[in-house]
């Protein structure tokens, strides 16, 4: 299992567009990706659930990647967060 923490810099937070692209990105890998903030945790493949968390700019989220290709997936997904969120 791999994980990293990231503080959102996008002014609107995790909104529809980056969330949608994130889902596409995750689909490339076999690993399961979860995003959590505080007590709340969602499977990042679930677009509306992810948006429903209302993650805002300045919020710190924890991203967990678990599966056969977790090393490659974790690196790519962390890159994605830095570039898009």
């Amino acid at each position: 299992m791999k994980s990293f923490e990231y503080t959102i810099t996008d002014p609107v937070g995790i909104h529809a567009r980056p969330a949608g692209i994130l889902v596409k990105e995750i689909k490339k890998y076999a690993s399961t990706v979860t995003v959590s903030k505080g007590e709340k945790e969602v499977n990042a493949l679930k677009l509306m659930a992810l948006m429903g968390m209302g993650i805002k700019q300045g919020d710190t989220v924890k991203v967990t990647i678990e599966g056969a290709d977790e090393d490659v997936a974790a690196a790519a997904i962390e890159e994605f967060f830095k570039a898009n969120l």
Partner: protein, 559 residues
């Protein structure tokens, strides 16, 4: 003649027959299905069809209104194929043997409710998207197609509210403008109308009656007026306005996206002055680079007691977030003199313009200042903030104000509340003392912003509210212009940028002078942005600079 008042959300005047949008409402019946697997496949087919339609709509929107409009449908596509959404529908069909139409309707309601309950208006607006996507899938299930415009001539389109997919499917050559009963300024209809440059008026409620269908109607997106069967005078007036706006729009539209750069390559920032979050759409639609003056007074003027830290925080945050990373300079409380507020209980003064006002009140009553600074720094996490202190005369005042900022930063750090480390601190230059001390003041701050209304009043010792002093109150006075040059020179020596946020900033007669003395930023009302840009782009500073600077120093230039 019938006059209806709504809220204008997209500018312009349009005239034409009123036409009600025909919406084919699919009636949903609920029933138990015998074969859940077959019903699930029926849903999957409808879903695939909806996704395909959305792809086509995205392309159509891209051609008609650009990438941003296309994004809407791409988002809808993602929602239509969302795992969570699909799972909820699957559960309804397979576990409760519900028919697909009802399963989609229930799931849509559930997700729409989730979004509607969220705090942020961006996410709240997504409730309409979920419903829209779901109606599309239901339409594919029932085979009922959505309505269009069945009129040989272009019309003013009326509806209760239009979903984004409905607006984009409409034949644009048939629409002159929109009137809707409901809706909001940030709804997709309003955004799309603005992108397409069509006037739109929302929120007319039940004032718009079915019997008006086919009558000639004139809508004015600037005033929010809907005029039905206008009399001749009203009609002539509105038609003239329509023609003028058309010409102006064509000229200014061409300037959007262009840099504020002179013919010889000198650049200057053009920002906007605003009074509150409601002014931000105008800032963005006029393509300004930022906000150079956000007057925070409105927060204090619109209530009966001191606004709380949270109330202020929300307002500042909204502006910063809506400006999407562009710089926003917020001026701390500037009351006193001509702006009085009852609950401050300020004693009556003999000379209010020279009295207890602006930063002086803040330093005398630090608890008021402290609340505002906390709200500002908290908001700084949501964008690019500059904080500006008004009515400075001495270096110690700035030092004391900055000490308050340090205290607030320390508090927030201890409380674990995020704030930006890159907040710029600046001051207004409005007094002769600040001008004369600008070399020293420049060492304390990141920027200066010249408030030319007060600077003129104080430099010329001339009350700007006294009508008898008209010819003595001259903002073009060389004393004022020399003061600006001195401030500019001292600022630049210390790596500090200088703006002008008074009315003078938009005075096109002085644009060449401001460029010549090296002003870095002009902050003006949103409607002045594009005319100012035009003036800047026509100017060749190298041709005029020498003469204008010599004039400033010439003893013949006494006005």
């Amino acid at each position: 003649m019938i006059l209806i008042q709504g809220k204008g959300v997209s500018n312009g005047v349009a005239i034409g027959p009123l036409y009600y949008y025909q919406r084919a409402k699919a009636t949903i019946t609920r029933y138990e299905v015998a074969d859940a697997e077959a019903e699930w496949n029926r849903f999957k087919d409808a879903q695939a069809k909806a996704i395909e339609q959305l792809g086509e709509l995205a392309e159509k929107a891209r051609e008609e209104a650009g990438d941003e409009a296309a994004l809407l449908f791409e988002t809808h596509q993602m929602m239509a194929e969302d795992m969570e959404y699909e799972e909820a529908i699957q559960t309804a069909i397979q576990d409760t043997l519900l028919n697909a139409e009802a399963a989609v309707t229930d799931t849509a309601a559930q997700f729409a409710e989730m979004f509607a309950a969220m705090e942020d208006p961006y996410f709240q607006a997504r409730a309409a998207d979920v419903k829209d996507v779901s109606s599309r899938i239901i339409a594919a299930l029932t085979g009922v197609v959505q309505g269009g415009i069945n009129s040989p001539v272009p019309v003013i389109l009326a509806a209760d509210d239009l979903a984004p997919s409905e607006t984009v499917q409409l034949d644009k050559s048939k629409i002159l403008g929109f009137v809707t009963e409901g809706g909001s300024g940030s709804s997709h209809t309003a955004i799309l109308a603005r992108t397409m440059g069509i006037p739109a008026i929302i929120g007319v409620g039940d004032q718009l009656k079915p019997e008006y269908e086919g009558k000639e109607v004139i809508i004015d997106g600037g005033t929010g007026n809907v005029t039905i069967d206008a009399d001749e005078d009203a009609k002539a007036h509105l038609l003239k306005k329509m023609e003028e706006q058309q010409k102006m729009r064509e000229m200014l539209e061409a300037l959007k996206g262009q840099p504020n750069e002179t013919l010889d390559g000198q650049k200057i920032k053009v920002y906007c002055n605003i009074g509150g979050p409601d002014d931000v759409p105008a800032v963005l639609s006029n393509d300004a680079g930022g906000v150079g003056l956000f007057r925070s007074e409105f927060l204090y003027l619109n209530c009966d007691d001191f606004p709380s830290e949270d109330v202020q925080f929300e307002a500042y945050k909204k502006v910063l977030a809506d400006m999407g990373g562009r710089e926003v300079v917020i001026r701390t409380l500037d009351i006193g003199a001509d702006k009085q507020i009852g609950y401050f209980n300020l004693p009556k003064e003999e000379n209010p313009a020279l009295g207890n006002r602006a930063l002086r009140i803040c330093l005398n009553r630090p608890e008021i200042f402290h609340t505002q600074l906390r709200a500002l720094f908290r908001a700084s996490a949501f964008g690019r903030l500059g904080i500006m202190f008004p009515m400075v005369t001495s270096v110690w005042e700035v030092k004391e104000a900055k000490k308050m900022c340090d205290r607030v930063r320390d508090e927030l750090t201890k409380e674990g509340i995020p704030f930006s480390e890159d907040v710029e601190i600046g001051i207004m230059i409005e007094t002769p003392a600040a001008v004369l001390m600008s070399d020293r003041l420049a060492k304390e701050v990141d920027f200066f912003s010249c408030g030319t209304n007060d600077l003129t009043q104080y430099t010329l010792a001339c009350d700007r509210q006294n009508a008898d002093l008209g010819r003595f109150y001259n903002p073009h006075h060389p004393a004022v212009l020399r003061a600006l040059k001195m401030v500019c020179d001292n600022a630049h020596k210390n790596g500090v940028w200088v703006g002008i946020c008074g009315e003078l900033g938009a005075d096109l007669e002085l644009t060449e002078t401001f460029l010549s003395i090296g002003i870095d930023e002009l902050s003006v009302s949103p409607r002045s942005v594009l005319p100012l840009r035009q003036k800047i782009r026509e100017t060749d500073v190298s041709q005029v600079k020498e003469k204008l600077l010599a004039d400033l120093l010439s003893d013949e230039n006494t006005i």
